[in-house]
Amino acid sequence: MSIRLFHRGARLVTRMRASDREFVWRAWHRAPVPWSELFAPALLLVGYGCECQDGAVRFGDGGSIHWTSGAMWTTIRLRLPPCSEKKAALLADGLLKVARYG
């Protein structure tokens, strides 16, 4: 058991913008991050099959995650498919955890 103030190896991810079903985050990093390898399995766990493309993952009925990577940070844009407000909030929180701790 260990008790700490911070998660080991966590990435700093800041929320840039959030609206009804669209979220923009900025992830800070020192090395490239294989985003599709992080997001696709997480989406599959909650029942969304994914189509991975260069710089994007598409899922559900119109859902997508797009990212634009630079040397120090990546801008991530999440668009959720139609679902209840509560489920949308949970999916966004869960995917933010993936970006931070995955």
Binding site: I3, H7, V46, S84, L90, L91, R100
Partner: protein, 146 residues
């Protein structure tokens, strides 16, 4: 050992609810507030003795440890214990009711005496844990229902 328990009606069959909760430990990060990371899952096949490491943000403190599945009765009961970290036993029960599932989560936990002395009474802790368990079952309902 103190415990908190919450029950909610879910509009899905017990098999579907059980499968969502029990068949992939990593899925729990999507519905348990503060559970930020699950890794080193010992086997893909869910069942008794499947184990995993977890990191949990418990009101500002990051607690990490290992959990192990201790009961896996398909469609009716699923239990795991956190073996290190703050020892606790999480039991999910799934009962068919009104065409859906009556889902109950009971969490038994040990009072962390050293931390407890610093910032919370046993009653406060119970209330915090009760609120969290209530939130978890509500989140499960939102995630499982179509």
């Amino acid at each position: 050992m103190p415990s908190v328990s919450e029950t909610i009606q879910v509009a899905a069959m017990p098999e579907a609810a059980f499968s969502f909760v029990a068949d992939a430990p990593a899925r729990a990060t999507m519905f348990i507030p503060g559970l930020n990371r699950i890794n080193n899952v010992t086997t893909e096949k869910a069942g008794v003795d499947q184990a995993w490491d977890y990191e949990f943000n418990w009101f500002g403190l990051v607690v990490s440890g290992q959990s192990r599945c201790t009961k896996y009765e398909r469609s009716s009961s699923y239990q795991f214990k956190t073996l290190t970290g703050n020892p606790s036993t999480w039991t999910y029960r799934f009962e068919p009711k009104e065409g859906g599932t009556r889902l109950t989560l009971e969490v038994e936990y040990e009072l962390p005496q050293n931390q407890l002395a610093r910032f919370a009474t046993a009653g406060t802790l119970e209330q915090m844990n009760r609120n969290r368990v209530r939130e978890i079952v509500a989140n499960l309902k939102a995630m499982i229902e179509p």
